[in-house]
Assembly symmetry: C2
Homo-oligomer: 435 residues x 2
């Protein structure tokens, strides 16, 4: 089982994490704090940190922290210097970047981290981002066409210095072997480059490609190029189906399906018991419960009002409730509601969060991960701790030992590179099977 | 007097620096080494490091190191974490970047360095770079039009969180003051953005703008936006004229000319005496003398042959020599040749290098800097040591104390930010005098 951790704003995955006791309120821009959390994740032997990214201000900023890092590449440069083993995966947009610049920065990260970099290649689907770049979002088809070209150009640039091209031999005075440094000369419909990139290979050859799911066209991209995919899945069945679809896509592209790892998200609020965990969750998201009651009602097929926030569903409501088919989270929401929790507590279970959420003792997280993993629903998980400061230590110090004890998680890093950690082969340039 | 140091490839300014004794041959990608040199410059109280950049492979790579850093922003992120006071100026192209991405990365650098970032805004004039981006260079006029828009959009984004916008007040639960976070909504002929940038101000408000001269249109850009300009000047008269032109341009833009600092380049090869310095210079650039003899001849109005490399000019040649008016370096070249040095030694004086070069004892560098500074030819210098490993320590440990002794250079950093070091005012957003 593989573990990644979402690495965002220096506070944690809950919007109110920044104001919890003991949390550094300046964590958003404090790199001492950011690096410390990365080191903590490394102590837990996590395979990688994962940075989502949308280049825009997307938060209720009066009360909530931006859920994103101030700048993934600069942050990972700092983290690369402050850690030794953990993989470093950042999101970069193929629609709103220049391939040469992106290729160069990720390769630099790969060099400075000694082979620990990964690029989560996303086409970007947020119109707010497009407006920041003075444009409209291109049509979906075009966006993915550009994404394909972008990945191939980036990989071509990464491979423009072959293995062994950089000699730096002071005795002979040979700095590099020009025969092993080749132009790229790729030209697509949207993008082109001549190359070469002025950077040698890293310890893993070049960065790993990740992809964050986006329908059939995203699957196609992932199947061809990705070694890791972070999914948004609410049920084990859905996760299993997505993982299988991904493996099929890899096979269709002529690859071994084991070369591509599927990660299910898991959000955590850990406390000794359920009640304490719910209270913790409520304390860090106090502003956002009322407006969610209406949506909870939709999920359950009931007209609910925020006046009922402190009360459980009535018997009549429970009898009338029908989980919505539109939202896969509804069945779980109804299960929790049937246990008699107040609506606030139902919401505090994370039933309308982005990913499955464990709100309770740490062993519940271990059980969840084991069940999904053994059902073939995931190769690993990307964990989203509520607050790094005191929500990450239980994962590192309690969850990981349980998983190790059960023989599910490695006792230590075996290799040095992200490719080693993921068990995927080294790569130099474009995948020859696709050319 | 202000001092910057060119910070390039981890070896030094001479192409053969990488193979000199004691030099780390992997310095190109070794961030421990890069950070160590930055710390050394900081020990010398230099005001800033300056990173030129051309996103392309531009070196005789079989024997010479690329004269550029693998990636300026990632490197400066590492350096920001490893230093405390020295300013960090990187070059970024307005033709081949997205303003939102560039604004965000420089602002992140400014935050992580606590207000020490600067952006050297260049339009890029190298067709090899353009080809790496799959395009041709735009016409000169258009390139500068885009540069103007680019700088204003970047500054607009930098200012989109006003001073005091970020509250992070855990007691009241107020993360930011939305009234102080404004969209940018700039739209030019080439570029546009909505904004805001999701990053708060730094300790100096926002990064400093630098410009690297490019004719009248570059002067216009510098006059409006720049706080620092790195010039390429061979004679004191030329430097003085360029500095005056720059100050005039600043005044025309409605600014105080003291807000803009002009830096003359100075290359150094330091040794106890001239002969030792020439030998050092020859050892680190042994591959490149023969092909330069012809050009030296052109500078002197003589037909010279590399067979004469070990000999001085004959009496007849000296009598016939006429310095070329095309190349301002020619007068100095003739002066050196008249001293009776062999042609190899004449070249080893750096007479056809990019900047004036001191090849000799450290006091000659101090004298050069004092003379130029007192003549109003420069506000400071950007030093290009031949090799960082053993060519930078004499600047830090010998040159700086001489300048301090003469009352020309500060004894220590007074302020904390790059703006403090340069003596230029804090800034939030676009310059109101230009709007
Ligand atoms: C788990 C997950 C994480 C994602 N992370 C990002 C991200 O960080 N940045 C981004 O721009 N898009 C992200 N996406 C969006 C996808 O890349 C994709 O754009 C989205 O699913 C919409 O698909 P479409 O663009 O094909 O319409 C993510 C998607 C998923 C499922
Ligand atoms: C001292 C100095 C340093 C420069 N450094 C860079 C650089 O690092 N990157 C770059 O693209 N251009 C650099 N330039 C080039 C200028 O920005 C400008 O493009 C060049 O002078 C040509 O002018 P033009 O583009 O107006 O033709 C530098 C110029 C000078 C004088």
């Amino acid at each position: 089982m593989l573990i990644g951790m979402v690495f965002g704003n220096g506070y944690g995955s809950q919007a109110g994490a920044w104001r919890m006791p003991g949390v550094d309120p300046t964590g958003f821009t404090n790199f001492d704090t950011l690096v410390r959390y990365a080191q903590l994740a490394e102590r837990g032997k996590f395979q990688f940190l994962f940075m989502p990214d949308f280049p825009a201000l997307r938060a209720d900023i009066a009360t909530d922290a931006q859920q994103l890092n101030i700048e993934p590449m600069m942050t990972l440069a700092a983290v690369a210097r402050g850690t030794e083993r953990i993989g470093l995966v950042a999101t970069g947009s193929s629609t709103f970047s220049e391939p040469f610049n992106l290729a160069r920065q990720f390769k630099a990260l790969d060099l400075m981290s000694h082979g620990r970099a990964g690029w989560n290649a996303v086409p970007t689907s947020d119109p707010m981002v497009a407006a920041n770049f003075g444009r409209a979002l291109p049509p979906r088809f075009e966006k993915y066409e550009r994404l394909h070209e972008f990945v191939q150009i980036v990989q071509g640039l990464w491979g423009s210095w072959e293995q062994g091209a950089w000699l730096h031999d002071q005795v002979s005075g040979r700095f590099a072997d020009p025969a092993k440094i080749k132009p790229v000369n790729l030209r697509g419909r949207h993008l082109a480059t001549s190359g070469p990139l002025p950077l040698p290979p890293s310890e893993q050859g070049q960065p790993v490609i990740f992809q964050a799911g986006g329908g059939d066209q995203g699957l196609e991209v992932a199947g061809r190029y990705a070694s890791g995919v972070t999914g948004a899945v609410f049920t084990m069945e859905d996760a299993r189906a997505q993982r299988m679809a991904l493996r099929d896509a890899a096979e269709r592209a002529g690859r071994d399906p084991d070369e591509i790892k599927f990660f299910a998200g898991l959000m955590t609020t850990i406390a000794p018991n359920r009640r304490a965990a719910l209270d913790r969750r409520i304390a860090m998201s106090g502003f956002s419960f009322e407006p969610r009651v209406g949506y909870l009602g939709q999920m359950l097929g009931l007209a609910l009002d925020s006046a009922q926030l402190g009360e459980p569903l009535t018997k009549a409501q429970l009898a009338a409730a029908r989980p919505s088919r539109q939202d896969l989270r509804s069945t779980y929401a109804l299960k929790v509601a049937s246990e008699g929790w107040s609506l606030r507590d139902v919401l505090a279970h994370g039933v309308i969060d982005y990913h499955p959420m464990v709100v309770g003792p740490v062993v519940e997280a271990a059980d969840h991960m084991q069940t999904w993993f053994e059902a073939g629903a995931a190769d690993g998980f990307w964990l989203c701790p509520d607050v790094y400061e005191d929500g990450l230590p239980p994962l590192v110090d309690d969850l990981v030992p349980i998983l190790q004890e059960r023989g599910l998680f490695h006792r230590d890093y075996q290799g040095a590179t992200l490719r080693d950690h993921l068990g995927v082969p080294a790569q130099y340039g474009r995948d020859p099977r696709l050319q």
